[in-house]
Symmetry: C2
Subunit: 689 residues, 2 copies
Amino acid sequence: MERVGHGNDIESEGGGYVIDGKILQRNSSEVSEREGMIREPLLRNRINTTSQIALIGANVSPIESLDYEYNQAFVAYVGCNLLLAVAAACLCAYVAPAAAGSGIPEVKAYLNGVDANAILAPSTLFVKIFGSIFGVAGGFVVGKEGPMVHTGACIANLLGQGGSRKYHLTWKWLRYFKNDRDRRDLITCGAAAGVAAAFRAPVGGVLFALEEVASWWRSALLWRTFFTTAVVAVVLRGLIEYCRSGKCGLFGQGGLIMFDVSSAMTTYSTPDLLAVLVLGIIGGVFGSLYNYLVDKVLRTYSIINEKGAAFKVLLVIIISLLTSCCSYGLPWLGKCTPCPANLKEPCPTIGRSGNFKNFQCQPGHYNDLASLFLNTNDDAIRNLFSSGTEDEFYISTLLIFFAAIYCLGIITYGIAIPSGLFIPVILAGASYGRFVGTILGPITDLDVGLFALLGAASFLGGTMRMTVSMCVILLELTNDLLMLPLVMLVLLVSKTVADSFNKGVYDQIVKMKGLPYMEAHAEPYMRNLVARDVVSGPLVSFSGVEKVANILHALKMTRHNGFPVVDEPPFSVAPELFGVVLRSHLLVLLKGKRFSKEKVVIGEAILQTFGAFDFAKPGSGKGLKLDDVEIEEEEMEMYVDLHPFTNASPYTVVETMSLAKAAVLFRELGLRHLCVIPKTPGVCSLSLN
Amino acid sequence: MERVGHGNDIESEGGGYVIDGKILQRNSSEVSEREGMIREPLLRNRINTTSQIALIGANVSPIESLDYEYNQAFVAYVGCNLLLAVAAACLCAYVAPAAAGSGIPEVKAYLNGVDANAILAPSTLFVKIFGSIFGVAGGFVVGKEGPMVHTGACIANLLGQGGSRKYHLTWKWLRYFKNDRDRRDLITCGAAAGVAAAFRAPVGGVLFALEEVASWWRSALLWRTFFTTAVVAVVLRGLIEYCRSGKCGLFGQGGLIMFDVSSAMTTYSTPDLLAVLVLGIIGGVFGSLYNYLVDKVLRTYSIINEKGAAFKVLLVIIISLLTSCCSYGLPWLGKCTPCPANLKEPCPTIGRSGNFKNFQCQPGHYNDLASLFLNTNDDAIRNLFSSGTEDEFYISTLLIFFAAIYCLGIITYGIAIPSGLFIPVILAGASYGRFVGTILGPITDLDVGLFALLGAASFLGGTMRMTVSMCVILLELTNDLLMLPLVMLVLLVSKTVADSFNKGVYDQIVKMKGLPYMEAHAEPYMRNLVARDVVSGPLVSFSGVEKVANILHALKMTRHNGFPVVDEPPFSVAPELFGVVLRSHLLVLLKGKRFSKEKVVIGEAILQTFGAFDFAKPGSGKGLKLDDVEIEEEEMEMYVDLHPFTNASPYTVVETMSLAKAAVLFRELGLRHLCVIPKTPGVCSLSLN
């Protein structure tokens, strides 16, 4: 019973709880963690209770006589978890609903062009950080990696819009990102930094951004993300160095390589290859099943969540209770095993982390199931990946843990807390791999730890469908370069198998959330359509010099973000497309009131009357609204020369262009508007975003 | 004097010389290598000469008395090198001139859309493989990595066009690649496989293809290249396992990680960081200087090379003599040092590879300069990267080696042999880094071997300007994950510094070769132009149903690859663009003679009369020529319905579109043709390729 309250933890109260929070362990030490974060008398009292249990647990008394104390411990455990869960849920439900979930699908959608307001707002950032800390600390089967990607993107967005005016945090020199393209690049860099920090995998971060997050890539972005993650790596490295003495809690654990398995043997034969192939195939099936079930559960939850914030919190409470019961109850099924001799590490461990947990066992024994359940996620993974420990876990233990984590992972994603998918998938995959490795032990030379790594790879490939980035992240996590060919093989096999069933989990979530994500490849049905077929509604266009009333009417009546400007006689010989003017620019123009009484071309001079940043892209949801513009009656009949404010080089397609090819154009160039021009004169506009 | 002829090498004559050839060492063992490859009585004789020298070298006789024998050894050394050099040069000059040089710029240009005939022809493949073997064996300061990328691309091209009809090697099932896009993808995979095999870096190969080689990338390509390199890794791994017993010469050396430095210490402090920054800055300067000088030398050489094949061979002979003199002569400047005690490896080494070479020294001593010069490239790099050997090399040694390799590398690239740039750059960079490390020894804790690695990174960043791929390749070469932050930093610094001087070496070569490479970003001057400004010459267009004589005339008169098809009354109300028809398709059409007497629309039915592969893209230079088409007099007045053969959805831009934006469209979508349409009806075509 080393669960809680070993006194020396109280020393770490002093500071640095944010860093602590980033690597909060899942189970065993919420109480001491909680001390660091929430200082309430109520919780202080409870420490006495728990340390009492700890004292009893250290006694060599028969288990039966401790029933009362174990019940008390259970109540304390469940209570702490519940408190943290409710805190996370309240933040998510009442402050920033957009912070729930992984965040990767949202960032992906944003970079695809979905400019939803709340996705990257400062409030989302705040809730994401603290919600994630509470959620991970609250014992849920969730990761911190997805939320960290979202956090990185939020910070990048905040920097990109020059700080937050609402919270009085603005920097002048950050205004260089006041255009859509550079801001998107910055957010891509932010997402890469998130992965780099979460997995301590700088190159993996770059590749993750490239393979999974970004919809639109240019060569300059490669070294920009690379620069970002290099800075992350250097800073991480410095902090780990600084924290070497243990003053930052669990932060420095594992160093720059979180799960070092490089010492393991790495020769393998043909039967091993076959075993790995089978592992990959089954992993792919389980991965796609995971996606399928997550999708079903999400759909169910969204019905509950729609009923209101209270229901969201209620759902979180139920899942929290269930998780607590599982992780406290299931270890009782584990057998007590005597500690193996000749160990370098302490056994059983009394502390926050370690390979062998005592739980209810006698001294000198450990409970293998407790070593997985009542441990931090990182340590559980480390235990599963550990090599040369064939006999540490029973097959039944691995099976129970796998089943529990697989199911809990599925039902946890979708509740109103920030929840990453990586850790559940890696945990389930590693236990699955170790299970297979233990079964195949007699016929293969590969270490069970390596099987666990390959199992994790197969699950990651099966759910997330990434290849290169997953491979590099796993490499950087485990420092096991010699296993690279096998990891590559497993990832490819499981991805291929899973791809034949359904889509990647992030794509599924994007689709389920109803975000209008645009795929990289054209859908088959598009081949039978032409661009003309999808042009929506009646065309609203302006002439080169337009009446104020018409512009105002068009802005009111439609929600288009771009309008074609068509020059008509007397400004041109025949009606011809001059370009596309943006809604946001029109609003600035109306607000600026540069009107003229006559219908005449004024020219570029009018641009001088605006400041350099007037037309800059504002932060999400911060732009001018139509209500901000007040036009007086007499101004309604005046004219605006739109020519200087119009993009005279819009991309265009002919109306008979195949829709598939138009879609490719749209996506590959990262467009927001596309003009569809007819074969015979006259103009109509298609605005897909 | 362990240079040549230790008897046991003769045993390896029996077989496997191709595998041997792939990792041919640069200097010390050409004679025994040569035995394996060319069995001529002449060479047999010479072995006796050299083994005589070897015997004398093993004697403990004073150096002065051996002058005559050393001269004989020099002649044998130079002679062998010269023979191999001439063989490589003759292959390059007379059989396939396109095989000279690195090959990476050519592959890059091909993937950018430059479909030059010889770049990927079977003869180029043949010369590239054997020329590279001869060149590397002939003691030149050249690498095998670039040629291997080119080899990979050539093999991919051969597969992509369904084999070679000329050499009667064709496979039916390979015809699925009979279109431009899939073939480009396959060649990208081939290039990735080349890097993966050369550096044993599967992930590095994927990234190299992405960052340096490919102009056009799609998400599916990521896992395809990944799959390719995974197969490469598994096969490599299998072969290394098979060759473990040493039966494949030097192939298995280094295992899957060629230069394992993972054992080195990896803590570093702020002064170390500063030292690394300075290293990166100077490395960047040297790198850009390298590019500048290579460019100058290439321009000089191209004047010589243009004079004829004999001049090419002559140039190779001169450089070969110079290189041989340097690598045989300079080690005499090295001092003899007693072998350090407590070594695991033998010292001095008698054999093809090793850390300590005896050369002219007494037994128990080694010559440090000879250990670099008279060694394989791989071993020289391994020596420089080796850690814990601070005193192995004198500062003067490193300086001499650096200067020699830097200069030889510059004057060697551009002669008529297949020559990679990686190895010279890594060698020069590593000796530079080790030199700096030795100087900074007193003030830094970093190992000199790590400095050598960082120096190599700085030179690679300074010349090739790759970031992520270089970083991963270095990681996979050295297995030194903990140094990743420093390597990233150095790469970024040196790239940034070098970018302010000139372009990357491959870009320079592409430009110097006059290949019409299209940059990813638009040139500044393009912003002031519109698409209309660059439309070349008078427009040649066809009507929907065109007279055979007109088509034939247009094909004869112009070299355009695409022609707009404009429907005119009576087939449409007003003249309008129907689409673009390709030159190659027109040729097939004329050859097929599906003509009609009347000017009528025949429709899709005509397509049925052609086979599935008639319109498939033929191999480079294998397509129908205009001369192949014979049209009789009466057929000239007949008509062809072009509609079924026309691409009815060409990408178009309006003539007033900014040229910069048109260029972006062209490049990002990987286009070959772009229609420029006027604002007022009528059509004109721009064909940039």
